[in-house]
Amino acid sequence: MFDILEKYDILAAFWMTIKLTFFSAIGALVIGTVLAIMRVSPVAVLRRLGAFYVNVVRNTPLTLIVFFALAGVRFVLEISLAPASSATSVQDNAIRWAMVALAVYHAAFVCEALRSGFNTVPLGQAEAARSIGLTFGQSLREVILPQAFRGAIAPLGSVLIALTKNTTVASVIGVAEASALMKTIFENETASFAVFFLFALGFVILTLPVGVFFTSMSRRLAVKR
C-alpha cells in the first residue's frame, strides 16, 4: 500500500480532477445562465432554442460528448485548443476539450437548476410587486431574482457534485485525472480494495464539503413561506 503511495502521484491526479471541476463549473455556469435567461425570456424563438439545447444535451451520454469533442471536433474538424508548437499540445488539447465537453453537458443541468429556482417563486410575489407600482426592472431586481437565486442554490449544489464525479469521464480520452491513475495502478499492480477505497475516499473528500456547504446555505437563505 505505502509503496503504491510512493510510486504514484495520487495528489497530482486529484489536482487534475479539481482543475477539471473548477474550469468546467465556470463554463457550465456561464452557458447555463445564458440558457436559463433564454428559456424564461418572453421571446418564443429564444425559448425554443434554449429548450432544444437542454433536451438534446440532457439526453446524450456524457461519454459520447467527451469522445466526440476529441475524436470529432479535435481530429476531424481540426479545431485545436492548444498551440501545436507546445510540447504538451496533445495532453493540453485532451484536457481543454474535456473541460469544454463537461461544461457543455452540465450547462443544461445548470439551466434547469436556475429555472427551478424561478419556479419556487409564487406568482403572488410578482403580482404584489406590480401592484405596489414597481417597474419590470425593479420587481425583477428587488423581488423575484433574490428569491429565485435562493431557490436555485440546492439544485446548483447537486449539479456541482455531479460535475465533480463526472470529471472521471475525461479519463476515456486520456486525461490523467484520478480515475485514470487508479486504472493505471490496477493494471500495473493488482485490483485491490484498499486502492479503490483510497480513491473513493478522495471523491468523498471533494464532494462532501460541497454538499454540506450548499445544504446549509440553502437552509440559511431559504425564503420562509
Binding site: 418572453p42 429564444l46 474538424l77 427551478s116 419556487t120 431557490g151 449544489g157 463526472n166 476515456v172 454538499g211
Partner: protein
C-alpha cells in the same frame, strides 16, 4: 406556475417591438450557428455524400447499430431491475426502526452515491479480470451492471425514503392506530403510496441508467457507443457515427422523459403525485441529509427534479 408568468406582463406596444428585435436576433443566432457548422464541415470535407452513405447501409445496422443497441438495453434493463430491488431494500433499511440497520444502510447508500460510477466500473472490471470471477466475456457486462446497480440503487433508496417522508403523516398514524406494527405500516401502507408517487422519478432514473451504460465503452463493453465508434473506424466516418449514436440515445431518452412527465401529470390529476409543499432544500449528493425533519413537507431534489438527473 411557469417562470414566464412570474416575470412578464402582457406586452405593450414598446415591449412588442423589443420582442420583435429579440426574435430577429434569435433567428440570426440560429442561422449563424448553422452556417458556421456547415462552413466548418464543408471546409474539412465532412459534407460529402460518401461519408454519410454508410448510415443507410443495411449492413451497418445489422452489424453495428442493432447489436450495440441490444447490448445497451440488456445492461440497462438488468441494472434497472436490480437497482429497484437494491433501492427498495436499502430505502426500507434507512426507514427501519432498528438503529443498526438504519445506520448500516445509511453508510452503504451514502458511499455508493458519492463514488463516481466510472471509478466503480474500472475497479470491478479489473477485480473480475484478475480473479477470474466470471467467464472472460462476461467480465465487462457484469462490471457495468453492478456499478450501475450500486449507484442507481442508492439513488432509488433515497427516492424511496423521501417518497415515504413526503406522505401525509395521517397515513402512518392511521396504520398504527388500526393495530399494524411499524414495519407492517411501512410495507403495506406507506411503501405502495411512495412507490406510486415516485414513478416519474423512477422513469427519469432509467434515462440516467441508459446514459451511464455508455460508460461501458471505457471497459470494452460492446454497447451502442462502442459499436458506433467501431463503425466510425471501420467505415472511416467518425462524425456520422457519433451523430447516429447521439440520435439513437436522444430518441430513446426523450421518449422516456415524455413518458415520465405524462405519468406525473396523470398522478397529479388523481391526486397522488409527489406532494409539493415547499421549496427544495436538499442537495443531491453524498452526505447531505435532505430528508425533511418534520416528516411532512419538502420535496428533496430527488423527487424528479431535472437537476438531480445530472448523474
Amino acid at each position: 406556475m411557469s417562470a414566464h408568468n412570474v416575470l412578464f406582463d402582457a406586452p405593450g406596444p414598446r415591449a412588442r417591438r423589443r420582442h420583435a428585435i429579440l426574435t430577429a436576433f434569435g433567428f440570426v443566432l440560429l442561422a449563424a450557428t448553422f452556417a458556421a457548422v456547415v462552413w466548418k464541415f464543408n471546409a474539412q470535407g465532412q459534407l460529402t455524400g460518401a461519408l454519410w452513405q454508410p448510415l443507410i447501409d443495411p449492413e451497418v445496422w445489422t452489424a453495428y447499430v442493432v447489436p450495440g443497441l441490444i447490448n445497451t438495453i440488456k445492461a440497462a434493463a438488468v441494472s434497472i431491475m436490480a437497482a429497484m430491488v437494491f433501492g427498495i431494500l436499502f430505502g426500507m433499511g434507512r426507514l427501519s426502526h432498528n438503529r443498526t440497520i438504519r445506520w448500516v444502510s445509511g453508510v452503504i447508500v451514502e458511499f455508493f452515491r458519492a463514488v463516481p460510477v466510472l471509478l466503480m466500473m474500472y475497479f470491478l472490471f479489473q477485480l473480475f479480470a484478475f480473479n477470474n470471477i466470471f467467464v472472460a466475456s462476461l467480465n465487462s457486462f457484469m462490471a457495468v451492471v453492478i456499478a450501475l446497480t450500486l449507484y442507481n440503487g442508492s439513488v432509488i433508496a433515497e427516492l424511496v425514503r423521501s417518497g415515504v417522508y413526503g406522505l401525509p403523516k395521517g397515513q402512518s398514524e392511521a396504520g398504527l392506530s388500526i393495530g399494524l406494527t411499524p414495519s407492517q405500516t411501512l410495507r403495506s401502507i406507506q411503501l405502495p403510496q411512495a412507490l406510486t408517487a415516485m414513478l416519474p422519478a423512477l422513469v427519469s432514473q432509467v434515462v440516467v441508467i441508459l446514459k451511464d451504460s455508455a460508460l461501458g465503452t471505457a471497459i470494452t463493453y460492446p454497447e451502442l457507443l462502442q459499436s458506433m465508434r467501431d463503425m466510425g473506424t471501420a467505415y472511416a466516418t467518425v462524425i456520422p457515427a457519433y451523430v447516429l449514436a447521439a440520435v439513437v440515445f436522444i430518441a430513446i431518452n426523450f421518449g422516456l422523459t415524455v413518458l415520465a412527465s405524462r405519468i406525473e401529470r396523470r398522478l397529479n390529476r388523481r391526486g397522488r403525485g409527489p406532494r409539493k409543499t415547499g421549496p427544495a432544500t436538499g442537495v443531491a449528493g453524498p452526505g447531505t441529509a435532505d430528508a425533511p425533519n418534520d416528516g411532512l413537507g419538502g420535496r428533496g431534489v430527488h423527487t424528479g427534479d431535472a437537476a438531480s438527473q445530472a448523474r
